[in-house]
Each structure stands twice: as C-alpha cells, then as structure tokens.
Amino acid sequence: MHTPLDLEPIAQAICAERRYRYVGKAGEGAFKQTFHVLLHEGTPQALKVYQPGLSRERTDREIVAMTRCCHPNIGRLSLVDHYSYSGVDHIFSLEEFLSGGTLTSRLSAGPLSRDRVLALGEDLIDAVAHIAFQGLVHRDLKPDNILFREDGVTPVIVDFGIVRDLTLSSLTESWLSRGPGTPLFAPPEQLNNEKALINWRADQFSLGVLLSISAFGFHPFEESGDLPPEIVQHVATRRQSTVRFRAAAQTSRLAALIKMTDPWPIYRFRTASDLADAWRRQS
C-alpha cells in the first residue's frame, strides 16, 4: 500500500489557474480528496481531486455513473477535467458543495425521531431507485456518504467511487474473498464477493442498516457489546438480525427495515417500487 498523496497543493494550483477561490479541505477518501472552493460568482462547489495511478477505469466509471444520475437526492456533477501537476496527470471534478454536514455528524447527537427517519428513508429510497434504474449499484451507502443541503433536511447521496455498473464486467477480481465497500454497512453478498448476487438490493441492505442506525442507534446485527468486526462477521455468515433489532423495528412501526436487511437478497424487496410502497405504508 502506498501512502496517499496530499492533493491540497494540486487543488490550490487548479484554483489559481481557473480563478476559483480556495476555501479549504472538506474531506478525504481512499481514492480522492475533496476541497471547498467558490466559483467566480461565489457559487460554492466541491472540488474533487483524484489520486494519481489509481484504476483509471474505476474513476471513469464513477464519473460516468454520476453523469448518468440526475436526481435531487444525488450529488450533481458539473465538470470533469484533467490537470497536469509536476508532470503527473490528475483527474478532478466539480460537484455541488453540500454545506449541511454529514449524516454521521447528525447521528453523533443520537438517533433521529421516527418522523425524521421516515422522511430520510423516503428521500433516500427514491434516490436508490433512481440509481437502480440506471443499472447501477452504489455499493458504499453509509452515513459518511449522506450529506445535507443547506436547508439541513434534504439528504444527498455522494461518492460513487466504487459504483458497480451492472451492464459492464466487474472490476473486482473473483478470487478476492471480499468485495469493495465499507464492511459495517455492506450486505453479505458484497462481503463475500458473491458477484452474481449483487444488484440494487445490495444498496437496499446498506440503506436499511443506515436507517436502522439512524432510528435506533445500533446495527441490525449487533448484539450488545459486539465490536464492528464481530458485527461484520455476523452479516458475512448470514446470521439473522438480532431479536432486539426486530423488536425495535416492530415497536417503532418501521418493520420494512427487517426485510431490507435480510441476509438473502431474495427475501428483501424485489423492486424499488415495492420498497417505496412498503416504506410509505409505515407513515
């Protein structure tokens, strides 16, 4: 593993050349770093600079996927370009800057109210349905990748870095024991690299975990005292979700979460519209 390059000087150089105002670093992932910049007229944007030498195909797929999506709850891409810095070619993109913070920071204050979970779920299910309709699987839905618009209530899915385009061949080697994704939010088929089982229902599972944590403050497969690696192991081995989770979901009248987080895709909602209908019926 090589140490990721600090991309801040490159971001500043891009800003200088394009006459953007550099505000500061906003985030960092394995493949890219995000910077807050202002365009000439003062419009805030997220400048994302990709690490050099990473899989070009994966970067391209992320960009193509984001270009294909057009939904109020999915981050909007406005520009993709290259910038040569010290003889190395860097890809960068401009996306809308979401100033309302992440879901992670919201949850640091504790679980959300039932009404907030219902509203959050409705928006995100609609966005996941849109992603699914494009033949895409995001594969990395987690609170860090849910940002809010300035209004503070509109959630937006970002970071398509490991998006899977089901119409194209997989970029994950079959011999790998684990597929890409954030383990704590990934479904068993992703954790076990069972490619044939992956479709939009993988995102449904991650969304189910995300909403469960938002509603109850714990993971559906988390027994009291479990550490994250143990929770991941329960999911990977397809244990049933915990009794306390199912009880919480039933009591809170959020039973759709139980089906969303079933270890087997066949037992989750088969279509996005089935999921949306079931979610709305809980309101």
């Binding site: 088929e189 069972e194 490619k195 044939a196 089982l197 479709n199 229902r201 397809r238 087997w264 895709p265 066949i266 037992y267 088969r270 279509t271 089935d274």
Partner: protein, 380 residues
Amino acid sequence: MTVYHQVGHQSDNLLDNENLNQYHGAILSPVNYDQLAVIAQIFSARARNDFVTIFDPQLYVPNSERGCLRKWPYFPSDVDTADLASDSWWQNLVATIVDNIAPMKPTAICSPAVIPKGFSDEYYSRLVLVGRELSRALAGNNVWPFQTAIVGLADLATPNRALAVASILSRTDSERLYILLYGDVHPRIEFSETEELKGAMCLISSLEEAGLRVTIGYCSSDLLLWKAVGASCCATGKFFNLRRFTKARFEEPPQGGGQLPYWFEESLVAFLRESDLIRVRDEGMLSESSLNNPFGKEILDQIQNEPEKPWLALGWRQFMWWFADVEARICKGDVDVDDVLRRAEQNWLELDKRRVLMEEPRNDGGWLRTWRRALAEYKK
C-alpha cells in the same frame, strides 16, 4: 393458479379434449411440430378464452438431433462452434427467436437456455442476462417473456444454495419464471432425495414470495410438493418423458418413454400397471378422485368388459385429468397435500399388511416418507 399442457408428440389433439378443459394453457413444442403446425395450434387456442400458449424454443441440448427443431428458422446454424459465453451470440439468438416467433402471436415466449455442465452462479447469471434480453426484445410486442431457468436438483441439496439461486434468478426483468428441475431420475420413478426436494421447495416458495409467478415444467406427481409451497403453475404431458426433465429424455425416441399403460392412483400417489390396478381396486382402495375421473371410469369399464383392448392412451388422459383436478382442489383448499401424502403412506402400509404386493418391486411407496419428511422439514 393453473395447469399447462406440455405438448409432445401427437398430443395436440388433447388440447381440445373437453374432459381436459381444466388446462388453461399449453407449452408448445418446436421439437414435435413444424412452424405451420404450431401456428395452427396457436390460432385454434385463440378461440378459447384466456387459453395461454407458451412457446419454448427448447434449445436445451442444441447440438442434438431432435425432431423438427433444426428446421425452425431460429435454430442457430453455428451451434456446434458457437461460444456460448458470448453476449453477442445470445443477443442474436434472442433477436432471431423474437423475429420469427412473436409474429406467430403466442401468449408468451420462454427465454432460450442450455443444460450446463455445472450449475454455477455464472450459469444462472447468464440465464438472467438472456431473459433480460428477451424482455427487451419483446417490449411492445404484446407477448409475455418467460424467464427460463434450468435448475440442478442435486445442486439444491447444498444448504442455502436454493436461496442463492433464487437471489440470482430474481434479478430477472420478467414477472414469470419457467423452472425446469433437472435431475437424473428416470421419468417414471419418483424423486427421493429429501435435501434436493427441500431445496426445490425453498427455491419455488422464495421466488413466489418475492412476487414472481413460477411455472414448473415437466411435472409428474411431484406437483403435489410444488403446489404445497405455492407454485403458481405446473405443466405436464401425456408421455412419461414429458413429466421429467433429464438428460436421458434427449436420447429417447420421439414417441416418448415406455409404452406400458399406467394408471395414476391418488390413494397411493403412485403409477400402477394394470395388474396392480386390479389388485388395488379389489382391495377397495381406489380414491374418490380416481372413481370420478372420466378416463378412469372408461379404463375400469374396459378392463371389466374388454380386457384385451389396450388403454395406453386412456392412461395418459387419466393422469392428466388427475393432475388438473388435484391442482384445482389444492388451490381451492379442498385438499391438504400433507394429508394426501400421509394417507397414501398409510395405504401402502395397509396393502403390505394385507400382503398385497405390486408387480413392480420398486413400486412400494417408499418415496412418500422422503416427500413427507421434506415437506415437514421445509415447513420448519
């Protein structure tokens, strides 16, 4: 909730038989009939309200010599050399099938599928891709796409394999699945592996629960198990080789399997030869269903009054009538499959107690314990 007639050699005359009018559809055979004959079958079926015609391209073993199949315009000329892992080969095949078959206006077309060497995830994914291609190609044609899936029964015996297969198959774009349970059990012999049966039941019920309509092709008396777990439709035919999907069926003569007449007896859930039928009749153990079966009545009359007269064709009809009748009774809730199997097992024990032994040594009802156990363990 219905039954379809799996059309075979010289069996289209059964489509109009008034005593078999509980069949609400037919799975048409390009192996036994040429294009003109199938067009005539579809045309004639249109006169019957809601009668469904399903065209199965039957490319299961594409390089075999099978009746009229090679004469059909969709039959691939490069089948011996084609790369079956090629997307474009399948796309062309589906396009050719749709171009040639959709204008014939069947109600539905099944996606083409070949019997694989092994039943891997990649194989099932390929089936889904081909099915998706068919759904796309049929869009706007007013012809339903059926997602074909040949499923290895032995493969399903592995714990949780059925759920993995169901998860893959449920990625289909089609609302209807046509499942062919592939095994190596001879057409007239009953399945008898508990784990395989449990796997098949789990596959069917999980797909149905997901909102897909499952049709099980090539059924025999095992329809009892498939209906018990909620299969929407089951299909069968007059020949024994139309009641089982095995590799051997592609090596049999076009006239079908064995030509001995058999009677299907619900009280034993078994096929009986004539001498055994007489034994069971004399013990007063024929079921009410058998005594109400119009073809059964004819057979019994004939055995009584014209014992030399063959009843092979009546035997086919007797089974087909029972198949449709029991399916209807199950759907209405008049029959509980568990009870049927339990009573049948008791009847076999009673026959044994009375020292009534069947002419066929293997015909002893032994599979009923397997079936009952499979059903009971599945329900747990």
